[in-house]
């Protein structure tokens, strides 16, 4: 299929932001320099209409990342073929630089729960997820990135540390990793584990993207709301991550209580400054 857009890839030395509807006009008018724009794939599963028209308009000027929230890679249900078809059609339409999904489950018995639910880190779950990542990559004819999710509960059946589970999915399937630094912090705080453990476990070469976001502290633990600025301790963990990984395309995510575009641009500029002081990577993930 002939390309409809200029090929664009994220600049590893710069940050991008999540593209959200309230910012469409401001972003189009101001056209700030950004490494890339990321959208939730499912929000563009429509067959036509203004959302897709806007996305195609932005794709002409920016590299785009499709970040899925609904494929349910870890569900015991079969992968939904309609969902996979829609994702493939969207990828064909916008020619994204990156395609990612979450290492989680969100549906069972045909009912969709619409949340990123945690997996037990067992050999069974690992083998299951790997089969499905392979299925998705074969269908899309490209590698995807898989993201570590925030988890508010843990399972007694888990036998594999989270970082090793994520690293092993990448090793077995050839997929890349989308390292969410906020999630690493949230999980460590919620479960009393070491936030650096996932950095230790991952092969730096397989990390293709980093996410930053804000959480909310509640009496029952930290909740990954994507509704606040990045917290200082998460910035610190991000610096540590870059010290090990080198420059990785980084995204500032914001989903709840979405502020003015300037707030996201300020957060992205802060990430830019940290990226600038990190070295270039020895080699970059596929």
């Amino acid at each position: 299929m002939p390309a409809r857009f200029p090929p664009r890839a994220p600049d590893p030395a710069k940050a991008g932001i999540g593209l959200r509807t309230p910012h469409f006009e401001a972003l189009a008018a101001r056209a700030p320099a950004l490494s890339f724009l990321e959208v939730h794939s499912e929000n563009y599963f429509a067959e036509g209409g203004p959302a897709l028209a806007w996305l195609e308009r932005f794709r002409a000027d920016y590299a785009v990342s499709l970040h899925g929230v609904g494929l349910s890679l870890g569900s015991a249900d079969p992968l939904d073929p309609r969902h996979l078809d829609r994702l493939a059609a969207l990828a064909g339409r916008v020619e994204p630089a990156l395609v990612s999904e979450h290492l989680c489950w969100s549906s069972i018995g045909g009912t969709h729960l619409g949340e990123l639910l945690p997996l037990p880190y067992t050999e069974e779950a690992l083998a299951h997820v790997c089969r499905r990542v392979t299925e998705v990559q074969e269908r899309l004819r490209r590698t995807i990135l898989v993201e570590n999710v925030a988890a508010y509960v843990r399972f007694s059946s888990s036998t594999i540390p989270e970082g090793e589970f994520v690293a092993e999915v990448a090793r077995r399937t050839g997929c890349g990793v989308l390292l969410d630094v906020n999630n690493a912090w949230v999980n460590a705080a919620n479960h009393g584990t070491d936030p650096r453990a996932i950095l230790d476990a991952l092969d730096p070469a397989c990390v293709g993207e980093i996410h930053l976001a804000g959480y909310e502290a509640t009496p029952d633990g930290l909740v990954d709301t994507h509704g606040a600025r990045v917290f200082p301790e998460v910035w610190a963990l991000y610096e540590e991550a870059l010290a090990r990984l080198g420059q990785v395309p980084t995204l500032v995510e914001w989903d709840n209580d979405i502020p003015e575009l300037d707030v996201l641009l300020e957060e992205a500029a802060r990430a830019d400054a940290i990226l600038a002081s990190a070295g270039a990577r020895p080699r970059v993930a596929a």
């Binding site: 959200r20 509807t21 309230p22 469409f24 006009e25 189009a28 008018a29 939730h40 499912e42 929000n43 563009y44 209409g49 203004p50 959302a51 028209a53 806007w54 308009r57 970040h67 929230v69 609904g70 979450h102 619409g114 949340e115 990123l116 925030a150 976001a213 909310e216 509640t218 029952d220 909740v223 990954d224 709301t225 994507h226 509704g227 995510e253 914001w254 989903d255 709840n256």
Partner: protein, 94 residues
């Protein structure tokens, strides 16, 4: 039937005249939808997508809701329907 066919013919002639008129207007640039002065073309108004990956917490403050017997009084509609509820005529106007 002949009058119906004539009606169809004239209706289609109207559609075609309209279509050809639109095509002419576009080639002459009269209404091509491109605003002057380099302003952004309008892409329409997109609704905010409902899929995201942040956990909603605005409802988390209280305890989890229990499915006890519902308090029926709570489910009396209280919005702007009070501005029309009693006035609407039932279908058929009877």
């Amino acid at each position: 039937m002949n009058s119906k066919r004539a009606l169809i013919r004239s209706a289609l002639a109207g559609v075609i005249a309209l279509g050809l008129g639109q095509a002419q207007a576009q080639t002459s640039g009269a209404h091509d939808g491109q605003p002057a002065g380099g302003k952004e073309k309008c892409y329409g108004i997109a609704k905010a997508g409902q899929n995201d990956c942040g956990t909603a917490t605005h409802a988390c403050a209280g305890q989890a809701r229990k499915d006890n017997a519902p308090d029926e009084w709570k489910y009396v509609a209280r919005g702007t329907c009070t501005k029309l509820g009693g006035k609407l005529k039932p279908p058929g106007g009877k």
